[in-house]
Symmetry: C2
Subunit: 324 residues, 2 copies
C-alpha cells in the first residue's frame, strides 16, 4: 500500500488548457491540526502549481539582477462549511485538490483551489461556479500572489515587486472582471476591513481588544528569514483565542469553532525583533448566538505601519452547527 | 517541469530486504525555516515508511477495540554538521532521504533516516555506519516510536500502549544491541538528561533558567487534539531563545546557530490548558567559545509530571564554524 498519493501529473482537470493541476492528498500530522499547517500546505500547492505550469521554479526563482524573488502572498481567502472546514481536517483524511491559475500579468498571479473529500463530485474549476461557494463538501481557496524581492539585504521591510526571468503566464485564462480580487484587497487596504459596513442585524460582541504580539524568532520565520505567510494565520488565531478568553469562553469551544470565511490581506512583512500591535473587533448576529464576524488589524507597533488586515466569519458554537 | 519529486517507490535502498524507502524531496516553505516544520516532515516520513512497509496505515490505525492508536514519538535524535543541519535548509533545496525500519516488537519501532543533498554519495543505511555519524553531508535522524491510545476520551494524560491490528514487523531487521535506543532513553528518563556526566572541559554558561510556557491552544495541538510532537521542538527553541536573551545575545546570532546534536525523550503529553515549567541548564567548552551543551527538562507545572527531556549540542557562533 502506498500512502503517498500526491500527484501533480493530472493537468487539465477537464479544461485541458494547461491551467489546472489535480492532486490526491493523504492528510498527515504535518498538514493539519489546531495550527496553521494546512494553510502552509495550501501555500505550497500554489507554488507547486505555478512551478508546474509557468516554466518557473517558484521555490528557487531569481530576477534579472540574479536576486532571489519570492511568490509572496498578498490576498488569501478561505471559504468553508460546517461539514468541510480547515480545523475539521485530521490525519488519515483523503482529499482531492484541484488548483487552477489565472493570468494577472508578469508581476502577480491568482490561484483557485478546490479541496474536497476523496470521492466527492468535482468538475473542472470554473470561476462562475467557484465564486458561488455553493458546495458544502468543498473548501474554496483563493490565493493572489505577487513576485517580490528584498530592497535591502537582511531587512524584511520595504519589499519591492520583482518578476523572475522566464515566468510564463500569457497562456493562462483571464478571470472575469467581476471576480477580480483587486477591488476586494484594495477595499481592505483602504478601509482596514473586508466588510462593506456591517449588516443591520449585527451587534458588537465585545469592546475592541488591543494586543501586543512580539514576533517569536524561534517559530515565526520561514527558510529565508521572512515572517512566514502561514504565521499570520497563527497570529490571528492567537488573537482570536484572547478574544475567546475575554468573553469567558473555554479552550474546548475554541478548538471546536468553525471558520466559515477567512480573508487576509498581507500589506507588509516585519523583522524578527518587531512587536506587532493587534486590534480585534467582533460582532454577533442579533439573536443568532454563535454566528460571529471578527475583524483583525495587525500593525508594526513602533512604526504604526499596517502589516495585515483580516476578516473572519466564525461559528463559535462549532459542533452544534454540524447539521447546518 | 515537475517539482513534486517525492517518491516512495524505491524500496530496498540497496539492501533489498523490504525495510527501506527512498525519497527525492524538494524543500518547500512548509517544510523548513526557523520553526519546527522540517522536524514535522521527518515525523511524517516515519509514519509514511511504516505505512509503506508494515501493512498498517499509520495515519488511520485502530487497535483491537476499534479505538484510534497513534505511532507516538518517544525518542527523537537528530545529528548534523555545520555543513548540513536543520536550520540551514531552505526552500528550493533538493534532498535525498533514505529511511529504514528496525523491528522492536509489536508495540514499538525504530526508524533511521539519512538526509543528504541531492547527488551526495549515499549507500544503503547500515547501523554500523549510521552510528558513526561520520558524513558531514548527512543529517542523521533516529525515531523510536510506540503505539499508544488515550485511556480517557478527551484527556491527553495517561496515554497507554496499544498496537494496531495487523501491524507487521517480523520481516524487519533487528538493530544490533549495542545501538539500542533503550539504554539511552532510559538514562534520560531516570537522570533527566542525556549526558553521562559533564566532560571535564565544560563550565557553566549561565545560572539555571526556569521558564513557564502556557500551552498555546491556537498553535500547539495536532489534528487529534494532542500536543503535536514537533511542538516540543518549538517549545525547546522558545526556551533556547530565552537563554540567548539572558546571555545578552541578539536575534541574528540565534537564527545563525548550528544544532549539531539534538536528543529528545517524550515522557508525556499535556492538555491544552496546561502550563509547562521548563528548566534550562547550559555549559560551554572552556576556552572554546560558542561550543555549548544545553539541557532542557519540561514538566507539567501543576502536577510536576515530567513531560520531556532534551539535550542539545549547539554552535552558538553559527556561520563562523562553516569551515569546521
Amino acid at each position: 500500500m502506498s500512502v503517498i498519493t500526491e500527484n501533480a501529473g493530472g493537468r487539465g482537470g477537464g479544461l485541458g488548457d494547461g491551467s489546472t493541476v489535480s492532486r490526491s492528498v493523504l492528510v498527515k500530522p504535518g498538514m493539519c491540526g489546531h495550527n496553521s499547517l494546512f494553510v502552509g500546505n495550501l501555500g505550497d500547492w500554489t507554488w507547486e502549481t505555478v512551478s508546474e505550469l509557468c516554466d518557473t521554479n517558484a521555490f528557487d526563482a531569481t530576477n534579472a539582477d540574479g536576486s532571489p524573488t519570492y511568490l509572496s502572498f498578498y490576498y488569501f481567502h478561505i471559504r468553508a462549511s460546517p461539514r468541510m472546514h480547515v480545523n475539521g481536517l485530521t490525519f488519515g483524511d483523503r482529499l482531492e485538490v484541484g488548483s487552477r491559475l489565472f493570468d494577472f500579468g508578469s508581476e502577480s498571479i491568482l490561484t483557485l483551489h478546490e479541496v474536497r473529500p476523496e470521492g466527492a463530485r468535482a468538475g473542472p474549476i470554473d470561476p462562475e461556479r467557484f465564486y458561488r461557494f455553493a458546495d458544502p463538501d468543498c473548501i474554496y481557496v483563493e490565493n493572489y500572489n505577487r513576485w517580490i524581492t528584498r530592497s535591502r539585504p537582511g531587512s524584511n521591510e520595504d519589499l519591492v515587486k520583482s518578476s523572475p526571468v522566464g515566468f510564463r503566464h500569457d497562456h493562462l485564462p483571464k478571470l472575469p472582471d467581476e471576480y477580480s480580487p483587486r477591488r476586494i484587497y484594495n477595499h481592505a487596504r483602504n478601509r482596514l476591513t473586508f466588510l462593506d459596513g456591517l449588516p443591520g442585524d449585527r451587534v458588537p460582541l465585545a469592546p475592541r481588544l488591543t494586543l501586543d504580539y512580539p514576533i517569536e524568532a524561534s517559530r515565526d520565520l520561514n527558510g529565508v528569514g521572512l515572517l512566514y505567510f502561514a504565521t499570520y494565520f497563527s497570529i490571528i488565531d492567537w488573537a482570536l483565542l484572547r478574544l475567546w478568553r475575554r468573553l469567558g469562553r473555554d479552550t474546548a469551544t475554541f478548538l471546536d469553532r468553525v471558520v466559515l470565511d477567512h480573508r487576509l490581506c498581507y500589506l507588509g512583512n516585519a523583522d524578527a525583533d518587531s512587536v506587532l500591535r493587534i486590534s480585534v473587533e467582533a460582532w454577533e448576529k442579533r439573536g443568532g448566538a454563535g454566528d460571529e464576524i471578527v475583524n483583525v488589524v495587525i500593525r508594526e507597533r513602533d512604526s504604526g505601519r499596517t502589516v495585515a488586515v483580516s476578516t473572519l466569519h466564525v461559528l463559535s458554537t462549532g459542533g452544534a452547527h454540524d447539521d447546518a
